[in-house]
């Protein structure tokens, strides 16, 4: 009698399982087949629709939009398939959703950081300060954006390290997007001797810019005196280039040609200098 009561209580607790177990073996086979079918079709349909939606998003927007849309559609379809599986197994979805709501609140309180990252991620998606493929600088990390997810952004640094930056950090930090604008300026700072003729140096630097087809004619290259230092004239040479993969090689090339031009034209570089004057001090009387 006691054993029967205990069994009834367990049956009550695992209502859906009991129902399932109470079915005929043939019924179980049919349910199992249905579940397998729903899972397989759900996954395939999710992948297919996700891919299609991603392609449409790609045509209308960025790689980031493609990734997010395809994931959203995929998880949506998989979620629907999951509910269908639960329904097939006899689980009451309404009760489950209620329980899930309470559980979500509990989890939310328990994992504030994740929730913060999630909300920051949504803000980032809305603001779009960068997209996949952009080169960004966050704190002291510089890298290419690999993915923009709900909790974090993944970067590949130029020394090929994988960096995961939490979205909360991104929202709080200053982000420099190095590839957003199509053209970019480079600065070459020179220290020239006070003995040099500035006009001659400016003409040499302008000719150097003119001879390089990758340096933009407009905005025009600029040579100006930035400051009169203690031991040198501080000159800035500002040129523009296309902000693409060639930018860093171009910057290196311009530096190299400036050095070569200074050497060829024997232009003196200002070094810290100290004039020492020897004076004969009369011997004390």
């Amino acid at each position: 009698m006691i054993a029967v009561t205990a069994m009834a209580a367990r049956v009550e607790k695992n209502h859906w399982l009991a129902l399932l177990l109470a079915k005929e073996p043939d019924d179980i086979a049919v349910i199992a087949l249905r579940v397998v079918l729903i899972v397989v079709v759900g996954l395939l349909l999710g992948r297919l629709l996700g891919s299609l939606a991603g392609r449409v998003a790609r045509r209308r927007g960025s790689a980031q939009g493609q990734m997010l849309t395809s994931r959203f559609v995929f998880y949506g379809v998989v979620g629907i398939a999951g509910f269908m599986v639960l329904d097939t197994l006899g689980v009451e979805i309404g009760v489950l959703l209620g329980a899930a709501g309470i559980l979500t609140v509990a989890i939310g309180f328990a994992s504030q950081t994740s929730a913060s990252n999630l909300i920051s991620g949504l803000f980032l998606l809305g603001e779009r300060p960068f997209s996949i493929g952009d080169v960004i600088e966050v704190g002291d990390r510089l890298g290419v954006v690999l993915s923009v997810d709900l909790l974090s952004v993944k970067l590949r640094t130029f020394d090929n390290l994988f960096v995961r930056v939490p979205n909360e950090t991104l929202i709080k930090s200053e982000i420099v997007n190095l590839t957003r604008n199509p053209i970019r300026r480079m600065e070459i700072n020179l220290r020239l001797s006070y003995a040099e003729d500035f006009d001659r140096v400016a003409a040499i630097l302008q000719a150097l810019a003119r001879d390089n087809p990758d340096i933009l004619e407009e905005p025009e290259p600029i040579v100006w005196i930035d400051a009169l230092g203690d031991s040198a004239v501080h000159v800035r040479f500002l040129v523009w280039g296309a902000n693409d993969v060639k930018f860093f090689p171009l910057r290196s090339q311009v530096h190299e040609r400036v050095v070569r031009a200074l050497r060829e034209h024997r232009i003196g570089v200002g070094f810290p200098r100290l004039d020492v004057e020897a004076q004969r001090v009369p011997p004390p009387d």
């Binding site: 604008n181 199509p182 004619e217």
Partner: protein, 260 residues
């Protein structure tokens, strides 16, 4: 003078070279393989056009190998327009008084497209001259990356020079009460075609700009080179669809360029 473009038959291991102004181009046909090498001189205004058989490739020029499943014997050489818009600045300031009109002839560098194989596949494209890059736009955020050239803005069709360059006739009319100072012009060359006139010179479609502040769409690309070019035949088509949205941007760019 025979044209420097078209279909050229190569025997096995035959070598040809083209001198197209500043560009020196060497092509060698191997078994299922084409080897290409090129170099540029320092004179962008060079007008020389030479086609040499069995020209020797200098040792210091880098070669590139293009491999095909069946190489074929024929190489197609096609003159193409630039792959970006070209911003042209007159060498001297050009001013059009109020109510006046003028047709300016401007030369732009060409690109040489090479195609081989069966079916024909484009495998290389080389500019006749590596023009400098420039930015054309309202500010450094909104604009287009272009090529920059200088023009003498010739007014007589007879003064248009031959050579490996393509000429555009731009008709400018000043409907404004103030003089129009033409400082720079942006030609949407990727949306233009290349035509051959009977004298061998290459032309694009003509374009027209009406400078009138009340008119919001004063720039247009015509359907053919100007009448003064004489009868023409089309040699190559545009790179971009002239009906695409980009056209509107190019038009506005051209207008801004004229206002300068």
């Amino acid at each position: 003078m025979s044209d420097w473009w078209g279909d050229f038959e190569f025997k096995s291991y035959a070598q040809r070279s083209w001198r197209l102004g500043p560009l020196n181009l060497w092509v060698t046909r191997m078994t299922n393989e084409w080897q290409i090498a090129h170099s540029w001189s320092n004179d962008p205004l060079d007008e020389t056009i030479e086609l040499l058989e069995d020209a020797e490739l200098p040792a210091n020029v880098e070669r590139r190998r293009y491999l095909f499943s069946s190489g074929g014997r024929s190489l197609r050489v096609v003159p193409r327009v630039a792959d970006r818009p070209v911003v042209t600045r007159p060498e001297m300031p050009v001013i059009i008084p109020p109510g006046e009109k003028a047709t300016l002839y401007m030369a732009s560098p060409l690109w040489v497209e090479l195609a081989a194989g069966d079916p024909l596949r484009v495998f290389a494209e080389i500019p006749v001259w590596r023009a400098s890059s420039t930015w054309f736009g309202d500010d450094t955020l909104d604009g287009t990356l272009c090529y920059a050239t200088r023009t003498r803005a010739r007014l007589e069709v007879t003064e248009v020079r031959a050579g490996p360059r393509v000429t555009t006739a731009l008709f400018v009319r000043n409907h404004h009460a103030e003089a129009l100072r033409v400082e720079r012009l942006a030609l949407p060359l990727p949306q233009m075609s290349v035509f051959r006139a009977e004298d061998g010179r290459l032309w694009t479609e003509s374009a027209s700009v009406i400078y009138d502040p009340s008119d919001r769409s004063p720039a247009k690309i015509g359907h053919a080179p100007p009448a003064e070019a004489g009868p023409t035949t089309r040699v190559s088509g545009p790179r971009q669809d002239p009906r695409a949205n980009i056209l509107a941007r190019a038009f506005s760019a051209a207008i801004k360029g004229v206002i300068g």
